[in-house]
């Protein structure tokens, strides 16, 4: 079996701390009732958290380039679906 990167327990702990901090941040910002931008902020924080999970917990950082390209491509496809559907709803 090929050599694999083994993440240390401490690094997992650090990742969790980051994720929990971001969660706290997200909840706090939501309490401020910033109106329109609160949606954008909440989704931005969620995206950062999601990327963190993909990169560290799901080991994407240590996978080959192909895996990274594949994941990025899939999210790009999904973004295009959303955009093209909204092409209808925005201009209707």
């Amino acid at each position: 079996m090929e050599k694999h990167h083994i993440s240390s327990y401490t690094s997992h702990g650090i990742v969790l701390t980051v994720l929990l901090t971001l969660t706290a941040l997200s909840v706090t910002i939501a309490e401020l009732h910033l109106g329109a931008i609160s949606v954008a902020v909440a989704l931005l924080v969620a995206s950062i958290k999601g990327t963190t999970v993909l990169t560290y917990f799901m080991h994407l950082k240590y996978e080959s380039t192909f895996f990274k390209v594949m994941v990025a491509g899939v999210f790009a496809m999904y973004a295009l679906i959303i955009i093209f559907t909204f092409f209808d709803y925005i201009f209707r």
Partner: protein, 203 residues
């Protein structure tokens, strides 16, 4: 016996690739619902705002924390098995399943609370709400319900992993199944990371 080659040619990377591809289909499955959410949110912003205030941010946050911790324990259990520490790997997996159960119990109380106030699909109370709020609760039950189903599937996968470790079918040399079950569990967490702000926070 029909195919003696398979064991020799055990392909760790291939199996992992298969799991990722499956995760993509799961993402698109939820993606369809996220799209519906986005469309209706843009159409009924105010109603979604009011309906979301009905949800308990505390329980939502608690569940987020629980799932994030469980994601870490799964990741740690994989580190443990890679280092050959199967005892610790099993303990961490058990902890993960306990956390998943905590999540489900919370969910149960949360849903139960909604049902108490007759806020379930098809109820007369819900029918009298503004259309946007009605759709919000429809989406809420559909999305969290489907997510809860995935929590259960994830638990089953992790539950299968434990005896495999105990029986030395999963070792530091060969832990593909363990890693794939872990990937699935992270997917469950990943989806919740987006569900949480969409349902509880965007008020």
């Amino acid at each position: 016996m029909t195919n003696p080659m398979h064991d020799e040619h055990h392909d760790h990377l291939g199996s992992k690739m298969g799991m990722w591809l499956f995760i993509f289909t799961e993402l698109f499955l939820f993606g369809g619902l996220f799209l519906v959410y986005a469309i209706f949110r843009s159409k009924y912003g105010e109603d979604f705002h009011h309906a979301a205030e009905e949800l308990n941010v505390f329980i939502g946050t608690l569940n987020t924390v629980v799932l994030l911790i469980s994601s870490m324990t799964v990741a740690m259990s994989i580190s443990a098995i890679q280092k050959g520490d199967s005892g610790r790997a099993i303990r961490l997996l058990l902890l993960t399943i306990v956390l998943a159960l905590v999540f489900m119990v919370n969910k149960y109380f949360e849903w139960g609370h909604k049902f108490e106030f007759k806020l379930y699909p098809g109820s007369p109370v819900l029918g009298n709400l503004p259309k946007g709020e009605l759709l919000f609760f429809g989406l809420y039950f559909m999305m969290t319900g489907l997510h809860a189903l995935h929590v259960v599937i994830g638990c089953v996968l992790l539950g299968i992993t434990i005896p495999k470790i105990a029986k030395k079918q999963i070792t530091s040399e060969r832990y593909t199944f363990h890693e794939n079950a872990g990937l699935y569990w992270h997917l469950v967490d990943f989806i919740w990371i987006f569900l949480f702000p969409m349902m509880y926070l965007i008020t």
